[in-house]
């Protein structure tokens, strides 16, 4: 009997690994990393690893926020534009003479406000999420362009901001954004898995009707999802302003696409109800690694977008393939287990 038990548990561990929604991407990543480390001496150096980690920060913040929105069954196209806007708020307010802390708080507040407006438009006015956030993307970009008159914002950097932006490290390769990212990831992960609000996100995303019948305040939950995404865009804005030391008004262009791609590569479903913080980080890492490898291998810049396109489709296909494979193995082992137990 104990022999059967141990067999079942080892099989269930194998199932767990194979059934993991990001198993395909993880194995693909491992393969690529091994190949790259073997053939490219400049890849597995500590300098390059820090490079990759630094480069993935901005997308990571946005992807975590996007994951929350996707789980609740929505989509947020405004994250890139909100990030640019909050970066602008930070930079401009500092040049107006505001102190750093207050500027950060106002940036986060602007992010939350944009999220709130998104949420209200989508829930109270019943505008499709895609369109509401697309309109907010345009509005945010327009505000930023008009405010800056198209001129990049300069001259807001100070010593503490160099640390906060991650340009100066606190010890070794560790910078403040890394710590912030870990803290944010842990908080959101706990929020999603252990709190009522988090479980409600999953419930609303899986089926709004059943969630409402079960007594979940669907409207409020959806608004919260967009507010969280807005605040995290604010965090990304503060970070990118510190990292780039200038803020062109269109700094956020295309980031919404990267964020969605990262979240989906990490196993979030655009149909709602599925997604994990880990997955978002994994997706962000995949995208950043792709860019990094393209640079190291020296692929001509015109080919870069093509490679990214293939990586996107390839990653989702890999997840899909391993899911099917995992399911099949799962079914087979279950059948075998049942046979053993009955024998």
């Amino acid at each position: 009997m104990s022999r059967v038990n141990s067999q079942i548990s080892s099989a269930s561990i194998r199932n767990k690994i194979l059934m993991d929604p990001s198993f395909g991407v993880i194995s693909l990543l491992l393969l690529v990393v091994i190949v790259m480390s073997a053939f490219q001496p400049s890849f597995a150096t500590s300098g390059n690893v820090t490079n990759i980690l630094n480069a993935m920060m901005t997308v990571s913040f946005l992807a975590i926020g996007m994951t929350v929105v996707l789980i609740s069954g929505g989509i947020d196209l405004s994250v890139g534009s909100t990030m640019a806007l909050t970066a602008g708020v930070t930079g401009k307010f500092i040049t107006y003479g505001m102190n750093l802390g207050l500027a950060f708080v106002s940036a986060l507040a602007v992010g939350a406000l944009v999220g709130l407006v998104n949420g209200l438009l989508i829930t109270k006015l019943a505008i499709p999420d895609f369109i509401a956030t697309l309109a907010m993307l345009g509005i945010g970009q327009g505000i930023m362009l008009y405010w800056t008159q198209g001129v990049p914002i300069l001259g807001y950097m100070s010593t503490p901001y160099y640390y906060i932006g991650g340009l100066r490290k606190i010890f070794g390769p560790v910078s403040i954004p890394m710590i912030v990212l870990v803290v944010v990831a842990v908080i959101v992960a706990i929020l999603l898995k252990k709190t009522n609000l988090g479980l409600n996100f999953y419930a609303v995303g899986s089926s709004p009707v059943s969630a409402r019948n079960a007594g979940v305040h669907v409207t409020r939950i959806k608004i919260w999802a967009y507010v969280i995404s807005g605040v995290l865009s604010g965090v990304a804005g503060i970070h990118i302003a510190g990292r780039t030391t200038t803020i062109p008004p269109l700094i956020g262009n295309g980031y919404e696409i990267s964020a969605i791609a990262a979240a989906v590569i990490g196993g979030a479903s655009l149909a709602g109800g599925r997604g994990r913080v880990r997955g978002a980080l994994l997706g962000a890492l995949t995208l950043t690694l792709t860019g990094n490898i393209i640079n190291i291998v020296g692929i001509a810049s015109s080919w870069q977008t093509i490679v990214i396109g293939f990586v996107l489709i390839g990653a989702v296909l890999a997840n899909r393939a391993t899911q099917m494979f995992g399911k099949r193995i799962h079914l087979r082992t279950e059948k075998m287990d049942r046979k053993k137990v009955s024998a």
Partner: protein, 338 residues
Amino acid sequence: MKNMARFSRILSIEGVALLGAFVVMVTYFSLTSDSFFVGDSIRYYVNEAVPIFIITAGLTYVIIAGGIDLSIGAVLGLSAGTSLTFSMWGWPTWAAALVGIATGLLFGAINAVIITVFKVNDFIVTLGTLNIAAGLLTVLTDHKQLIGTSDKNFLAISETKVFGVTTAIGISVLVVLVFEFSLLKTSYGRRVYATGIGKLPAFISGIDVDMVKFQAYVISGGLAGLGGVVLAAHLNSVQSGLAGGYELTAIAGAVLGGVSLSGGRGSIWRAIIGALFLATLKQGLQLAGVDPLIYQIITGLCILIGVVLDKSVYGFALRMTSKNLAKNDQVLQQGRSA
């Protein structure tokens, strides 16, 4: 009472609110700007928007079938690039045009295969092919501008004028008519609606749901190819990044026109009115001398207001109609009992 009923019936025709808003906007711009309601000006900006109209028609198929196609803008740009390149190599006009359309069909088929056979999310797949098409255009143009085919016939695809209307506009009208007709009056069109309304019920009633979606993506890709040929013939130059973001304008236009992103509701002419609305707005703002930096703010607000207006007018009309029906029922019943 009778007038009210008629009024609510008119309002309940979907798209009337948008059409009303469109007329108001055109009137406003015509009154405030002398150069707005002039033949040349109208022809100019409608011509500019023709590729968007063409891809909006294809996109509407995909959205009604319950999918989404983000790749159309980039595919349109790439098709413009391939057809112009072949024309510059001295290929005959029809061959160059076919190459452009084939490029679009190819991308449509790739989207269709990955989405329907491998069951991968449509948003991500078409986002991927968007990147691939945009990248291929960059490679094709090699960061320079493709410019100037010597084939006059190729340019004539868009620029021939018949009764003062360019062929480009003619092509887009033809596309809208043909595809609207097949959407509304053929069994394929019905299957597209059925698939969008409910995949499972459609499947159970014997519709090959995947095939319907497959065809919708191929149509969308093919029309993006056609749009590319028209654009290449219109501009006679192609550079990398051409037509980037057209997909978002097309989606916004379609949704403004009442096409539901969850599938199963919408029609092509309304989607086109939506796209025309956005194109006219841009032109009007330009002529009114509005600061270009705030275009996007105004466009964004107009999209929001338009969608809300469409919904509320439609809802209002439905309520009115049902109220009238209830009243009629009462009258009938009273008549019967008396």
